[in-house]
Symmetry: C2
């Protein structure tokens, strides 16, 4: 697959250079690790520091979401690979305003290991750290083992919830509580239509036939739960939504956020066709959509397909989801 890059091994560093050059009013790189990207404000006194992260290749997540009402810092990993503890720790020190730091990332072994190690090092420097794992991918494990589930696009909503809570002056315990509630109220189901290729190999991450799709496929090409013939958008959407509703029943009168996330190469046109069906189905159930997110929030390079996320809301989550955000790649008034 064609890539507009220079040297494959330099692509992440060059991306960060370009990103910081494009948005110098928002972000900067710390001195020790060129993968430590933080808000130009760094620590805000008394505010919980919000660190999100994971591998690169998911832009706008994670690096694109640094700013008021969202994240304070992002240690950037290689493509689809966790950042090592060093940049995580450097970012942690920089964004700690005395109220502690929350780590949030998708539930992947590499991220867990490296962020946990950084948390231990930070605690030794008397920086309180707590962790919220995102586990929204309903396809990746049964409900009885929900803590084994992967984190995928819905993580955006968990990060936004926590970023808003921190901006509103919540304590570390309260930020963590709100973010965990968001995660518990959230389910995502994805469908893949075509693969991506990491720059190092240039090879497709998986192979699907010309008329095939795979439901539940992970954002790094991890196996899904059902491979089949590509159906109509309405049929695919119904299949995704039914899995979500089986896993997390929603009753008439409840309020939700819906996200239809493009994985990289699926046109916005198709995302809106999918959203149309989600909206219709939820309306038929008497469920009220408080806010919609349709676009690219957590991508997998040029992967084709999308995911549908539904998050149930209470008054607190509504207030946090509605809180403004101002980042280079996501602005909400």
């Amino acid at each position: 697959m064609k890539k507009l890059i220079n040297v494959p091994n330099a692509v992440v560093d060059e991306m960060i250079e370009g990103y910081v050059a494009a948005y110098p009013k928002y972000v900067k790189v710390l001195p020790e690790n060129k993968r430590s990207v933080v808000s130009v404000e760094t620590a805000r006194a008394g505010k919980v520091g919000v660190v999100i992260g994971g591998g690169s290749g998911h832009e706008p997540a994670f690096m694109g979401l640094i700013g008021r009402g969202f994240a304070d810092g992002v240690p950037v990993g290689n493509v689809f690979a966790s950042p090592p503890p060093d940049p995580i720790l450097e970012v942690t020190r920089a964004v700690n305003g005395g109220a502690g730091v929350v780590y949030m990332y998708g539930n992947y072994a590499g991220d867990c290991m490296n962020f946990d190690m950084a948390a231990e090092l930070a605690e030794m420097e008397d920086i309180p750290v707590q962790t919220v794992l995102v586990t929204d991918d309903a396809a990746s494990a049964p409900l009885s083992q929900a803590d084994r589930r992967r984190g995928i696009a819905g993580g955006f909503l968990v990060f936004k919830t926590a970023g808003a809570a921190a901006d509103q002056g919540y304590t570390l315990d309260e930020v963590v509580r709100a973010a965990r509630k968001a995660n518990a109220n959230l389910r995502t189901m994805g469908v893949a239509l075509s693969p991506c290729a990491v720059p190092q190999t240039g090879k497709p991450s998986f192979v699907l036939g010309e008329d095939e799709m795979e439901i539940g496929l992970g954002i790094h090409g991890e196996p899904g739960i059902e491979r089949g013939t590509l159906k109509t958008a309405d049929e695919v959407t119904d299949a995704l939504l039914e899995r979500i509703l089986e896993d997390m029943p929603i009753t008439a009168g409840e309020r939700v956020v819906v996200m239809v996330n493009g994985l990289g190469s699926t046109p916005h046109m198709e995302l809106f066709v999918v959203y149309r069906r989600v909206a219709k189905r939820l309306e038929d159930l008497g469920v009220s959509i408080h806010r919609a997110f349709v676009g690219e929030y957590v991508t997998s390079l040029e992967m084709g397909g999308c995911s549908v996320s539904v998050m149930k809301l209470d008054d607190e989550l509504i207030r946090l989801i509605d809180h403004p955000a101002d980042t280079p790649m996501y602005v909400q008034q």
Copy 2:
């Protein structure tokens, strides 16, 4: 190529239904044509109405850009095809707040014909209409025939300029003057790496070899000026930027806006690698980048590749480009 759609002929209507369902606080459809999309505010008294448009398949353009500080209405055409006069006229009536209406679109024969026809009909109803053609694509005709050039991604910046001017209370003549200045100060050069497929045929719009790129290719697959072997991101960026600077010299001390626009399937990672090189080259020339736009602004479904736009600024254009915008698919504070 795989599409997440229902019936090909219904995809535009279903996209609009999904879009309006997702953003009911911003947009609505008018009663006569289901392709007439306008701001929920419709006409604002005394403000020039801003109508942008053209075919669909370019989302976020054009439909995604309806809101304060940007467009007031968009007649939506079929994929890569101009809207007919009817929805243009219906939108025009709805957004006319008594100060007249400006039409802005890329310079394509179909759009010119249909928008001109609508303008004549509007004038018969005593609605003053003026037109600004976007002609930013430096590859599509020599400078001596600049009025024959196509409009591509840079149109976003012309629309934004006019939308801001209208929001600031400019008269119709003044909005048109500012938008034409933006267009005159703007050049775009694109490179295509892979094709898109319109839903009706599902067939690739053009064919490029596994290691080929084409510089200057249009956003509907129109021929470019140079097909060659895919080079490094820096080499490709240099080639695009050199064409722009040959066509529109920029000297040390000048201020510009830079846009690196993804055509649909090119990862943000690569767009930032390209931006990095543009920023470096302009910095070396002593040119100051006032604001950067890196992302998907004007797409061509799932086409691969990107374009680089540079717009020279004066104090007025800076004030207009910095003016806030609040639309479903583009927010600027």
